[in-house]
Structure formats: C-alpha cells, structure tokens
C-alpha cells in the first residue's frame, strides 16, 4: 500500500470537502484555460485578417484608422484619394493584386463598400471570406452582395431592394439616396471576418450615387467624385516587400500607405494585451484563492486527523512518510482540479464556439495543451503543493504520545 493510496483514501474519506476544494481549483483553471484559448484564437484571427492584404493605401491621416476602416470596417475613413493613384499602384511591378475601396454610404448601420468584382474571388490562407451562401456576385452597378450579419440583422433577402444613406453610421437625419436603390443578388456565407458586416457592390454604384446627390448640391461636375476612392487594398509579391513599398508610397505620392498587420499588432499589444493580462490575473487570483482553500482544507483535516497520524507513527511511519502523504493529498487535489478545470474550460470554449459561430462566425477552437497552458497548469500545481507544505509540516511535528493520549 503506497503513500499515494493512503493519501487518496483520506481524500476519499472526506469526499464532500475534497470535492469542493477540487471544484474551487477547477474554476480557476477553467478560467485560465478559456482565457488563454480565446486570447490565442483572437490574436490569430485578428492577425489573419491583417495578413490578408500586405498594404492599404488611403488619404493621409492616422494609419491605424486607415487599416481599421478599410480592412475591419470599424472606423471612419481617413478621407479620399485620387483613383489615379490606385491605377498607378496597380501597375507597380511588386503588386500581384489591387482592389479599390469606395465607401461613403450605409444601410441599417452597415457600410456599403464599392469595389471591383475580382475582390470577390480573393482568398487568403485557408479562408475564402467572400464565399456565397446564395445567389451570385454583383455584375452591374447597384447589384449588392450582403454579408451574413447584414442579412440576418436587416432581414434582406435575395431580390430585395434597399437604398443607402449618406454616412457610415445609422442616423435618422442622414441624407437618403432614394434614386439609387440597390438589389440584393447574393448573400455571403458567414466567415467570422469583417465581411459579415459589409455590403459589397461595384465601385461605379458608389460613384453614381454620389455624383447625383453631391454634384447637384455643390454645383460640381458629377465625375469629380467618381474619380476618388477611399482606399486601395494591395497584395504584394512577397511580405518582405512591405516596408519598402510602404515607404515608397509615402515618399512619392499624396497618399498614405500602412501595413495592416503591423498596425493591428500594435493595437493588440496596447489594448487587447492589457485586457488579456487582466483576465489572466483574475484567473490566477482564483487559483490563489483555491490554493488557500487547499491549505485550509488540509490544515483542518490534519487537525482532525492528529490521532490517525499518531497511530501511523506508532505503527512505524517515519516523519518523512507522514509529511509526504499530506503533500501527496495536496498534489491529488491540485491535479484533479486541473483535470476538471481543463474539462470545464473545454466545455466553456465549446459552448462559446456554438454561440459565437452562430452569432458572428467566430470559431473558438477546443482547448489545446499549448506551451502557455502547460506553464499555467504547472503554476497551479506548484501553488497547490506549496499550499500543502504548512499542513504537512503540522503533520510532520506530530507528538505521538500526546496525540495518542488525547481522546
């Protein structure tokens, strides 16, 4: 009969207390597991989106704003730039693909993005974010392909028509382009990418809508707006060319180039990095409290078990064996907490996965034993063992004659 068996028997003998301590450890471990998994996936996805295009070119301003507005459809654009610049860039020898982006209107809070048909065929990595769920791609002005979230939230279906409002936010006072209704010809599959929130059409549609409304209002020639775009998304022959190409654009043209992945990584570290640290800190705090509960649970158990320890000593158990048996109890509780916590974390991620895939197409992967998780679990185990030292020391100091005499 090993010390492991003896320690296990004592834990089993006080099942409820042991179970509660294990659950408290498991809660901390599950939080850490879920946070680390979500962090890794969020970062991976964010960076994947950022890697889709090597360079974004737009009007001069804040490069992060340019990236957020054109790649993630999140911020206001920095302004417009001449279409000629796009055409020049497209002809550059290092450019393998270039797509214009024209924005200015929205429908139901979702921005209308004018571009070229070939963007719909663009894919990166293993992802095809423009895959159709139904219908076809736009082929003529004012034909629209809507993202999955747009279709879900606005109720737009194949063949429906809608009109855009000026501006990128949902505002009751915004100007409505009544004369230029769009027809839904396609609905994109949910991809978990920003495209779920986009309404895509031919660039000419955006130009036409603005030629009409603003040309008259400002008394300008209609084609003036038609020759401007919001930004250009560019794929280079190699990611190694990013810095050189970016510097070249910034030096030689009236536009600004930004590398999406660089901007996003900066943002991630500044903003989400802090959030991640806070969540991890909470996870470790829960584990520290759990370690305290291991300590208290074992300490109380040792006090109640003084007589048993004295009996073992009388039977010939050495002080080292008694110390070891209590440390092993702490090990069992920590290990069970980690295993249960892993399952809880995996369940949370699975539940989040089914919810987020349905809602926003964000796939949460199963909890995997990454190096970070192994390090976190090891830290939890170490904390548990440290928590066992005080009760083990108490047991080590058993006064056999006195404890046997005390009834």
């Amino acid at each position: 009969m090993s010390l492991w068996h003896i320690a296990w028997s004592y834990l089993w003998n006080r099942k409820l207390t042991t179970a509660l301590t294990v659950v408290s450890v498991a809660l901390g471990v599950s939080l850490i597991s879920a946070v680390l998994t979500l962090r890794d996936e969020t970062q991976r996805r964010f960076e994947e989106e950022g890697q889709a295009f090597d360079i974004v070119v737009g009007a001069k301003g804040n490069p992060l704003q340019l990236v957020l507005s054109t790649v993630y459809f999140l911020d206001a654009p920095t302004g417009n730039m001449d279409f000629e610049i796009f055409e020049t860039l497209k002809g550059h020898e290092d450019v393998v693909a270039a797509f214009p982006i024209g924005m200015g209107d929205s429908y139901g809070g979702y921005r209308i993005i004018g571009t070229t048909r070939d963007l719909m065929d663009f894919s990166y990595g293993e992802r095809a974010p423009y895959a159709l769920a139904s219908g076809r791609y736009f082929e003529a002005p004012f034909e629209a392909v809507v993202g999955a979230n747009v279709a879900q939230d606005t109720g737009l279906k194949m063949g429906d028509t809608f009109v855009g409002t000026h501006g990128l936010v949902n505002s009751a006072s915004a100007e409505v382009h009544d004369d230029f209704p769009y027809t839904v010809v396609g609905i994109l599959e949910r991809s978990g990418s920003p495209n779920d929130r986009g309404i895509f059409c031919d660039l000419q549609s955006v130009w036409n809508a603005h030629d009409h409304g603003h040309g008259e209002e400002h008394g300008e020639e209609g084609h003036h707006h038609g020759e401007e775009i919001t930004a250009a998304l560019i794929k280079l022959a190699s990611p190694a060319l990013r810095a050189e190409f970016k510097d070249g654009v910034n030096r030689t043209s009236n536009a600004m180039a930004a590398v999406p992945i660089w901007e996003i990584q900066k943002l991630y570290e500044q903003l989400l990095g802090t959030a991640k640290l806070v969540l991890l800190a909470i996870g470790y705090l829960v584990v520290a409290i759990s370690a305290l509960s291991i300590l208290i649970g074992l300490y109380m158990a040792i006090l109640q078990r003084k007589r048993d320890l004295a009996i073992m000593r009388a039977l010939g158990a050495t002080r080292g064996e008694i110390f070891g048996a209590v440390i092993i109890e702490a090990f069992w509780v920590s290990l069970l907490g980690i295993v249960l916590g892993w399952f809880l974390g995996a369940s949370v991620c699975a539940a989040l996965n089914s919810y987020l895939v349905a809602q926003i197409g964000f796939h949460v992967p199963p909890v995997r034993l990454s190096a970070d998780l192994v390090a976190a679990y090891s830290a939890v185990l170490l904390m548990g063992l440290l928590a066992g030292i005080l009760p083990a020391w108490q047991a080590y100091r058993t006064n056999v004659a006195r404890d046997l005499a005390e009834l």
Binding site: M1, I6, S9, Y10, W12, N13, R307, D308, I311, M312, R313, A314, L315, G316, A317, T318, R319, E321, V400, A401, L404, A405, L407
Partner: protein, 220 residues
C-alpha cells in the same frame, strides 16, 4: 527483555514519574496494574519510546533505548513492538484488511509479498475473515479490538504493549478479547505488557506489576 532502572520523567509542575526498578523476562505476560493516574500508561509510553526519560535506563533486549535517536525509535517500534489501545485506534478510511496491512507497510519488516497472506491469516485467527472489506465504523467494538490485535501481531513483534485493551468493552466481550490476546501471545511467544486498572483482568495474566506510587506529586 524489558528492564527499567531508576527511570525518572517529569510529567508536569510538581508531578514526577519514577520507577526504581522493573523487569519483564522474554515471553512473559505481565499486567501493569494500578488505579487511574498511578503512572502505568506513562510507563508503557516510556517502554515503547513514545516518551523519553529525563534520567535512568530503559533496556530492551539489552539495548538502552533512551540513547536511541528519534528515527531509531521509529524503527525500533516498527520492528519490535505491537500496540493494542483501549480505543482500538483503527484508521477509519481503510478496510479491516488494509488496517492490518498498514502495520506491516510502515514497519517494513515483513517482505511486501507476504503482507496480504499474513494479514489474511491473522484475521482468520481472530475470527474476522468474513469482514475483510468492512470499514472500522461498521464493526462492533469487540470486532474492532480483534482487528487491533491482528494488526499488532501481524508484524511478528517481540513485544506487545496493550493499554487498557478491554477498557471500552462490555464484560463478556472483554473476556473473549482477553482470551484471544493471551492465546495468541502464547502461541507466538510474544512478551505481553498489559496496562489495566481492572484487578480481574490483571489476575488473568501470570504476572502482575503493581504500579501504585509510580507518580509522585510534590507537596508544597
């Protein structure tokens, strides 16, 4: 086998245990008899190394155990002694069989492969072969003491120290347990030192040592 010579141990302010001389031969079965508080349990604790004397000599098989280190005493108890307590002192989380095996596991005198067969044999001899998987809490007090006796003897000790082994038992059960203990000690050729305040129990052993007056209280 067991010898105490001018052994002194302070028990508290003004309370001192003193045994001028005691001797128990190997294989003897002796009652340490006396009223409550007379020092008989202290004497047993000194003999078993659970208490250390302030002065004097405790000799067992010729070895002066008051000179032995703490870890040496652990080994000494494990190798040579078996304990039977008034409150049985079985370990609640373990089955009857495991309780008996534990005695051998900690002592590490008997080879591991013999633990189980030897435990089974001892439990058979005390009439508990049918309760191997029972936990102590489910046994009667008489059965518990029989398990304790089996545990004490399983390790093949030279000396059994029994502290009021019938103190928690009704007279009929006490009688049965005493009969069993004496028979087994005789069969195994084990020295038995049995503490009791009950003259009737003491009279069942061939020898009696009167412990009256071992504890002295200083008068102020």
């Amino acid at each position: 086998m067991v010898e105490l010579d001018k052994v002194k141990r302070k028990l508290g302010p003004g309370v001192t245990f003193f045994c001028n001389h005691f001797h128990a031969a190997a294989g003897s079965r002796m009652a340490l008899w006396g009223p409550s508080g007379c020092g008989k349990s202290t004497m047993l604790n000194l003999i078993s190394g659970l208490l250390r004397p302030d002065s004097g000599v405790i000799r067992i098989d010729g070895k002066e155990i008051q000179k032995v280190s703490e870890s040496g005493l652990d080994a000494y108890r494990a190798e040579r002694m078996g304990f039977v307590f008034q409150t049985f002192n079985l370990l609640a989380p373990f089955t009857v069989l495991q309780n008996v095996i534990l005695g051998m596991r900690f002592a590490d005198v008997i080879p591991e492969k013999e633990w189980k067969p030897r435990s089974l044999a001892m439990l058979e001899r005390v009439g508990l072969a049918h309760r191997l998987k029972s936990k102590p809490g489910t046994l009667s007090v008489g059965e518990r003491q029989r398990v304790a006796i089996a545990r004490a003897l399983a390790n093949n000790p030279k000396l059994i120290v029994a502290d009021e082994p019938t103190g928690s038992l009704d007279p009929k059960t006490a009688d049965a347990v005493m009969t069993l203990l004496l028979e087994l000690c005789e069969q195994e050729q084990v020295t038995l030192l049995l503490v009791t305040h009950d003259k009737g129990i003491a009279d069942r052993l061939p020898e009696t040592f009167d412990c009256s007056g071992l504890v002295e209280e200083a008068t102020s």
